[in-house]
């Protein structure tokens, strides 16, 4: 029951996001989400690579933040957001939507896994999860984001 309600709530949130938020604002919100993801994931990667001292508490904190924000961009690529304000989103997102969504969901799954692994306190597992998440992020960046000029 709880799961069904949660699923309904998520669908409703997605629908609301698409229906009510202006394209311009959607772009702003997804970029903000990506900024926070970059911040939290950057810290986790630094920890995984030994560039930042490992702390289980920090890992959990950053992974939780990452997981919370990771579901936001998915709902912010609505109609008209391909050219609302400054965005490096490629038009291919909307012509290859199924593939884009698959990659987006893969990232969300990897982040969810990362948040679980962070709780285990297993550093080697954390490193693996960080790498998997990194690959999932890059899969989209390589195909659906224009390069910096």
């Amino acid at each position: 029951m709880k799961t069904v309600l949660l699923a309904l709530a998520l669908v409703a949130t997605a629908a609301i996001a698409q229906a009510q938020i202006k394209p311009e604002t959607q772009v702003k919100l997804r970029k903000s989400a990506y900024s926070l993801m970059n911040y939290s994931f950057g810290a986790l990667d630094a920890m995984a690579e030994g560039k930042r001292p490992y702390s289980k508490d920090d890992a959990v904190r950053f992974a939780d933040l990452l997981q919370q924000v990771s579901t936001v961009p998915k709902t912010m690529f609505g109609e008209g957001t391909d050219k609302a304000g400054e965005t490096r989103a490629k038009p291919e997102i909307w012509t290859h939507r199924a593939d884009f969504d698959t990659k987006m969901n893969k990232m969300i799954d990897e982040v969810a896994n990362l948040a679980q692994v962070a709780r285990s306190g297993d550093q080697a597992a954390l490193k693996r999860a960080v790498h998997e998440t990194d690959n999932a992020c890059n899969a989209c960046h390589d195909e659906y984001r224009t390069k910096r000029q």
């Binding site: 970059n38 994931f41 950057g42 986790l44 990667d45 630094a46 690579e49 960080v130 790498h131 990194d134 690959n135 992020c137 890059n138 960046h141 390589d142 390069k147 910096r148 000029q149």
Partner: protein, 217 residues
């Protein structure tokens, strides 16, 4: 025509080691850069090593044995063009050391690799990895450096391809064993090797300071 044996006497051991270390690292950097993600840590280490190697080669271009010195192989445009005409006439010119065209190619590759490794220090991959000096400059600068890093990579692919094509042309077309001369080379005095080691160590120390000590908060 100069026999391959005479050709082979040009390169001292440090210059040859430099050449092949650079070859391996440039390929490694290219591959790890394309793979991205977890490979970026190695991509960056490779870049630091390339930077140190270039520092060594610049110094070696002034203090190394004659054939390795810039003054001995950098010629004016007239000489370079004359050399090109000799090649087109179908001759087999084989000066020991760099020919005028190859000499400029050395400078071009060193400059491009220095630019590439240098911009890499200020670049990020917009995911989780950034060069050690990226935090020292503005985000706009990081974006600019990252973009340049992307463009120079394409130019380097072309320049390296030309270099390999030129080597194949000498090797197969003119039948001058330039590969062998970069492998076998000249007997090198222990004193020369020691001098090279000192300059390589100094260059590595400067890079270590730049990418490890200086960026520390």
């Amino acid at each position: 025509m100069i026999a391959p044996g005479a050709q082979a006497s040009a390169w001292d051991l440090p210059t040859r080691l430099f050449h092949w270390a650079l070859t391996v690292l440039v390929v490694f950097s290219y591959v790890t850069g394309k793979l991205g993600g977890e490979w970026m840590t190695w991509h960056m280490r490779s870049g630091y090593t390339i930077l140190a190697l270039i520092g060594f080669r610049l110094a070696w271009g002034f203090v190394g044995p004659a054939p390795a010195r810039f003054a001995s192989f950098l010629r004016g445009p007239a000489t370079t063009l004359a050399y090109l005409r000799t090649l087109r006439a179908g001759n087999r010119p084989a000066p020991a050391g760099h020919n005028p065209l190859g000499g400029w190619n050395v400078v071009l590759m060193l400059a491009l690799l220095a630019l590439q490794a240098g911009t890499g220090l200020f670049s990020n991959d917009e995911s989780a990895h950034e060069g050690p000096l990226a935090a020292k400059v503005s985000d706009a600068m990081v974006d600019r450096m990252s973009a340049i890093h992307g463009w120079v990579q394409l130019v380097l692919v072309v320049v390296v391809a030309l270099h390999v094509a030129a080597v194949l042309f000498y090797q197969l077309g003119l039948r001058i064993d330039v590969v062998r001369s970069m492998v076998a080379g000249a007997p090198t005095a222990p004193r020369t090797v020691a001098l090279a080691a000192a300059f390589a160590a100094a260059s590595a120390a400067v890079v270590y300071w730049l990418v490890v000590l200086y960026p520390k908060p």
